[in-house]
Assembly symmetry: C2
Homo-oligomer: 167 residues x 2
DNA sequence: TTAGTTGCAAACCCTTTGCGAGGTC
DNA sequence: GACCTCGCAAAGGGTTTGCAACTAA
């Protein structure tokens, strides 16, 4: 059974090698935002005949094909997630590195208006929040969570310095 | 007459060397978002006894002191601007690399609410728009510009590939 | 005088690439 | 068989750092 991403690769006419199949599987199963090193680690544990170079090449290729999206959460390394689950944004816990996804329907619309007002067509945008967990408040604990905002929560990446924070 | 940034350095107790004075001057006079290479070029033209390493060290120091803010507009190099003119955001012209600043008072408030809802205190956030100049519409041409949105427009940096755009 | 700063070059880190070998369609 | 892809190791590009000389306070 081909993984979801493997099917997308085939659809887009990519030659499916053993390595790509493994990387596609890893990506299909990832529920977080792994960087290349992490993808390599996961892929290599399934098939040790894979090199980092191939992971870099594959990830770049899939991004060009629109199958993957590259993210920059600071820290100097790119992180990836599959293009699929509708638009969402990220809140990064600056202490643990954990990434929380959330939706905000108003935003895209709002940004488009701003660009238009400035005389531009909006091609893309990015927005990340960096925060610290409120003391005495587990996420979704004080507020029953059921309002559909939290799409997912994961990623135990270690927090890093100099992460490009806006302030 | 010490430059604005030089005064801030002194206030913060930094030892003022000749190199720092020059870099402070360059930063004080910059009206764009130069990267280190550009800062070095400008500084070296005022005093050739400056090395890139010093620019890197100074810029990092000033950022830690809250005098400078580091920005990431994609392209892999950090860009800097003085902490001062109130909060604003950036729209990057993906064709020319030009950066347009704009304000959006609602945003910070909105983002803070989102973070709060997720159980976090908002420490910082970033948002960048990437757009293409609408054909037949010079910025502020079709719309008389007088609504106070455009704070500044400058930066002739060349556009770059793989610039970390969200989509 | 003393602790902090500089230039230089080497080191780092992430990512890309040239090349010959190997695989896919 | 033609063309693509792989692993390896080297190269790149931005940024940091060790060290000895130097300098602001």
């Amino acid at each position: 059974m081909a993984s979801r991403i493997e099917r997308l690769c085939v659809e887009r006419g990519l030659k499916m090698t053993g390595q790509r199949r493994v990387i596609a599987k890893v990506l299909s199963e990832a529920e977080d935002h792994p960087d290349v090193e992490e993808l390599y680690r996961r892929a290599a544990s399934l098939d040790s005949r894979i090199s980092v170079a191939t992971v870099y090449r594959t990830v770049r290729l899939l991004e060009e094909k629109g199958i993957l999206e590259r993210r920059d959460f600071g820290g100097g390394r790119a992180r990836y997630e599959a293009t699929e689950h509708g638009h969402h944004y990220h809140l990064i816990d600056i202490e643990s590195g954990r990434v929380i996804e959330f939706e905000d329907a108003e935003h895209e619309q709002l940004m488009r208006q701003i660009a238009t007002r400035l005389g531009f067509d909006l091609v893309s945008h990015r927005m990340e929040l960096f925060g610290r967990r409120r003391t005495g408040a587990e996420p979704g604990a004080d507020r029953p969570n059921g309002d559909g905002d939290i799409v997912a929560e994961q990623d135990g990446g270690r927090a890093r310095d100099r992460n490009g924070v806006t302030r």
